[in-house]
Symmetry: C2
Subunit: 350 residues, 2 copies
């Protein structure tokens, strides 16, 4: 059951605030004060206490402090898959921001399983974290509401929440799609293909909407954009999509793939078939993964500020925790950015 029943007993008794007080010849209250409100204690005393702290290598027990004060210096980070570069980067940003405030971030990897997510939320609740940064699975579960009722602050990452019941931070996928297509349209492309993942995925649907919007703005019909849908968003699927494209009655001028892996696959299929990229068809991808820059022909891609996303989300959460009930929920949308590379350099140049 519990592996922590009894440790073999090599526990050196850590020095506590009491011991410090005793040796420094002051009361524990004073030691606490020099730790938390140095301004309120006399210079001389402060120095003396600090000296003792140093000498004893005293390390305050944050847990005990939290218990008494009702605060908490921990927040939970719940992601579906830390292995996904997107979330890894977000995590890095979040942890980075938290560290500045000496806040510990406990990592929860739900593995795309709602049951796991629930389990983790339980653990977080038991540990009395001050708040949770979460990319919730599926529909934002009512569980989050119950958490909030318990006093936990919640902010959603990369998932805009209706009714601004929580703070949320995400990047504007619609705008991302728009940017990409605008870029392709600019040099005069008129026959476009959209290589997309399942429209049931929010980002896929949004990026498509963005593409449409760009078309609308340019006064073009949506018919000028042919959609090729892939089951998964991998290089392999991209290769297949590329093959399908080659069978179209007419080759497009430009292709927008809603993810870099798809784009790389498409590119490979086209190049293998003797189609020039970007000479014959321009390609832009999405996510700007490392690989994009190192593709056979460097890939233009829409990049998302993942690190900043994580940082901001954490900052928002910490702010909400500090502000308490006077807090107004914010819904921040980061703007994606286009990184232009060779794959879209000079469409139809030849």
């Amino acid at each position: 059951m519990n592996r922590f029943k009894d440790g073999g007993g090599d526990e050196r008794k850590l020095t506590g605030i009491r011991e410090v007080a005793r040796i420094a010849g002051v009361s524990v209250g004073t030691v606490s004060n020099v730790l938390n409100r140095p301004d309120v204690v006399a210079e001389a005393t402060r120095q003396r206490v600090h000296a003792v702290i140093e000498q004893l290598e005293f390390v305050p027990n944050r847990g005990a402090a939290d218990l008494r004060s009702g605060r908490s210096r921990m927040i939970g980070l719940v992601v579906p898959d830390i292995t996904n570069p997107f979330f890894a980067e977000v995590a890095r940003g979040a942890v980075n921001a938290a560290n500045e405030d000496n806040i510990a971030v406990v990592l929860c990897n739900s593995d795309h399983a709602a049951s796991q997510e629930d389990r983790y939320l339980d653990v977080l609740e038991q540990h009395r974290v001050a708040g949770v940064l979460i990319n919730p699975l599926g529909k934002v579960p009512s569980r989050l509401e119950s958490l909030r009722d318990r006093g936990l602050k919640v902010v959603c990452v990369d998932r805009s929440v209706r009714k601004s019941a929580y703070c949320s931070v995400s990047v504007d996928d619609v705008r991302g799609g728009e940017i990409a297509v605008e870029h392709l349209l600019a040099p005069g492309a008129r026959r476009l293909v959209l290589v997309n993942g399942p429209a049931s995925l929010r980002p896929c649907a949004d990026r498509r909407r963005g593409a449409w919007r760009a078309l609308d703005k340019a006064g073009l019909s949506r018919d000028s954009l042919t959609e090729v849908v892939c089951r998964s968003m991998t290089i392999r699927a991209g290769v297949e999509a590329g093959a399908r494209m080659l069978q179209l009655p007419e080759l497009p001028d430009a292709v927008f793939c809603t993810n870099d892996l798809l784009a790389i696959g498409v590119m490979r299929a086209l190049v293998n078939a003797g189609v020039g990229v970007p000479g014959d068809v321009a390609i832009v991808g999405y996510d700007d993964i490392d690989l994009a820059a190192d593709a056979a022909v460097p890939l233009t891609s829409v990049s998302q500020p993942k690190f900043a996303l994580g940082r901001k989300a954490m900052q928002l959460l910490l702010a909400e925790i500090a502000e308490g009930s006077s807090h107004e929920h914010e819904r921040i949308a980061f703007q994606p950015d286009l990184t232009v590379r060779d794959s879209s350099a000079a469409p139809k140049a030849g």
Copy 2:
């Protein structure tokens, strides 16, 4: 400074063990027992208490429990870069194992900076984590020893530690290099190239040693292996290495790259130059990243059990914590595995 001074005061007073006891008509001690040693309390009482717990939605305060009991249900995970797929996967494994014991894992991302690493260790110490899972930067710092003196258990990940002062878990890079070269040698390759990163990196040096060992075992001179050293281990560096290889007096039969990105780069350079892969030269990479399977020609690669590594490391740590002083430090070396794909399918077939 501290953003947690005062929250706006929307703290609903959580129900505690006391309230449960009062309503259930038992003492707090009994409630505690129901929670921690259900076997010691009478069936009827247990049921009654559980009912009340349910009804009140009581959630035990792990922090308070830890404080009194001297245990700790948190452990720290310190990695140089969570964005690195290797560590992401290790983290996933570690978190996964911890979750089974209801242990919270606090994530620390040192960003390859010793100063950060130190800061994080401070935070972990203050939070009184039971142990630390760490991939320490540079030489295993004396800091770790001081941690251990304080009663913290430490296990090192992917970094074997001299003198078995700690438990450590790593994968056998020497063996990995050996496997790769054995595989290339089997079909009769005799002129090999090793595309390596800086030998100052432990894994690079080890994998080279492994390659040599395979050579020795096969009764071949080390001269049959030409080493091409790259500054960085990226696709771009691989392409350059490939270019350099093409200028060699004679093309090799087979190439072993100490990382998949290098391998993909080399492959690209060769194929672009009209060299057949695996027809003219076979290639094997290292790490078995997702991309390997989806390379232009699917890449044979040495794969490391990263998830298992993380899981095992965590299990070891938890075990050490449970065992206490009676613990014997273990040094576990995982065996890497060769995933054979097209890039080495039929060397010199033509």
